[in-house]
Amino acid sequence: MNPWVGYLSIAAVAAASTLIGFYGLRISRTTSDFYVASRTVRPWWNASAIGGEYLSAASFLGVAGLVLLTGSQGMWFPIGYTAGYLMLLLFVAAPLRRSGAYTIPDFTQARLESTAVRRVTSTLVIVIGWFYIVPQLQGAALTVRITTGMPAWAGSVAVAVIVAAVVMAGGMRSITFVQAFQFWLKLTALAIPTVVILIVVAGGVPGLVAQAASIDPFPVEAGPAGLDVYRTVSLMVALLLGTLGLPHVLVRFYTSPDGVAARRTTVIVLALLSAFYCFPTVFGLLGRVFAPDLAEAGQADALVLMLPARLLPGPAGVLLTALVIAGAFAAFLSTTSGLVVSLAGVISQDLLGGSVRGFRIAAVLATIVPLVVALATESSGLAGSVGLVFAFTASTLCPVLLLGIWWRGLTARGAVAGMLAGGSLSALAIFGGGMLAAWAPGIRPFLEQPAAWTVPVAVAVIIVVSRTDRRGTPRGADAFLARLHTPEL
């Protein structure tokens, strides 16, 4: 692959993002602007920005890779990523907007009137954010390695530096524009190659058909009939509920003008995501036919980057490859910057006094830690690692958020106990799973997809502890719930 294609498209995306970031800076003036764009972002803008922020390396590269690797099992990832917004709409969007809080820690502290809860939620938000940034940086490493031939670390470092700079310069107002732009860039960057490839394939590619015919690309056991029930259910629990607790997604809802707008925004996001995910799914199916040799762990994530040039030799393939690289980089940049903004918000509010300067220092902190982790570890499949972050979020922040919005009996002790229980169990399953499974192979699926049991355990612990702690019900609980659910006039 010609490295200049890679250099040029990466540079173009970085330049465009930075320009929009600095253009946005001219409107960004106050602390409030920095954190949540002064809550004046319109639904379409906001929905595009949410989509831009949400569609990460896992979506852009990982989904197609998984469909190539595992067949229809991989299709559950985009379904879960999308349907998570349905759950967000049903249980969280409008009440959360009406709570008037900036971050999840703000919300839990105000709801439960406790700094201990705030401390635990802040820690979780930071940990979740860091672990969510890691696969983005690994995706960048993969993209740079494959498209330019530069060492892999250069990609991670480039994304980290650009994001830290843009976030420090403009905060969230400019991020909103950057994110919205990046959503449409990502959509185009997959849609155009998909359509062109489909047209070419429909016309017939003589050399490739022979290769494709040698093995059945769609065996029954990899299709919907070969469904692994436990893993699929557990994955869906993780993805549907994990979306509710993602820090960078939640902070976006505070930028809607009111609860009704928050709902409308969520529906638009659902539509945008549904449209987007058709393309990586098609890419994955095409990959099963035309690039079965890529179907091995570590390679499969590169499918989206390699397929256009394979099927279209000549300048058309080069152009499409450039477009896809640009889209992939937009994905790394946008998700990382969204996460860095919300992490920096939490870190600066809790540790650095909430000033604009503190926010800038926090932005650096939020980027450096995951960069070190990403450089020290190897990616084992982007969609898979993001899925585990969802499982962890679903077992910690999500139950507290849901019960906090809908159940007046929630207490600070219950919330802390539940988050610790869900967090430690899912962390144990994710990090210690390999060792435990070697010792008792029968429990492997339960460790590799822990959400189906860790989420119920977390919810049960919260409810039981809250029940035994009836005096701990915050005095303002009824008033707070009333505020969450009464419509604005």
Binding site: F218, V267, G354, A479, F480, E488, L489
Partner: protein, 157 residues
């Protein structure tokens, strides 16, 4: 950077943009007109601060006793919104499970090939998004109806 000059200090502006939803309250919950809410600087108090929200997050009715019927209306609004959410979620899950069972158990769907791909693969890959969207649109309408009913009740008071 000319627009940097000629503008008042940042902290003043921050104070003016303090929580705009202070006014977003149903009047019935608010029999005794409170004094105009104090302006709050929108910054966090940090971890060492007492257990108080970083800025004024209290409900408009906090601190006062909500009148009895108003509280009943609010409780019934919360209940109906929760019921609606659960019905929509359960509906989505049940429909999804049924859809997947059909895909897995009807062999004709795996045998039929469309554009070179088994129909069951295509249906799984693209069929669930319209379902999620439909549930979402129906939910938004119903939730708005619940809120309109609540508003009508509180205005009648």
């Amino acid at each position: 950077m000319t627009d940097e000059q000629g503008r008042p200090g940042r902290t003043d502006e921050t104070a003016q943009t303090a929580p705009p939803d202070e006014t977003a309250q149903p009047p019935e919950l608010d029999r005794t007109p409170p004094a105009r809410p104090e302006r709050v600087r929108v910054t966090a108090a940090g971890l060492g601060a007492p257990a108080r929200p970083a800025f004024d997050l209290r409900s408009p009715v906090a601190g006062e006793r909500a009148t009895e019927p108003a509280a009943v209306y609010v409780r019934s609004l919360i209940r109906s919104q929760l019921r609606l959410g659960i019905v929509a979620a359960v509906g989505f899950v049940v429909a999804t499970v049924a859809f997947v069972l059909v895909l897995a158990l009807v062999p004709d769907l795996s045998a039929a090939v469309v554009f070179g791909v088994p129909a069951s693969w295509l249906l799984l890959g693209f069929g669930l998004y319209p379902l999620a969207l439909t549930v979402a649109v129906l939910y938004v309408r119903a939730a708005a109806r619940n809120e309109a009913r609540y508003r009508a009740l509180t205005v009648d008071e």
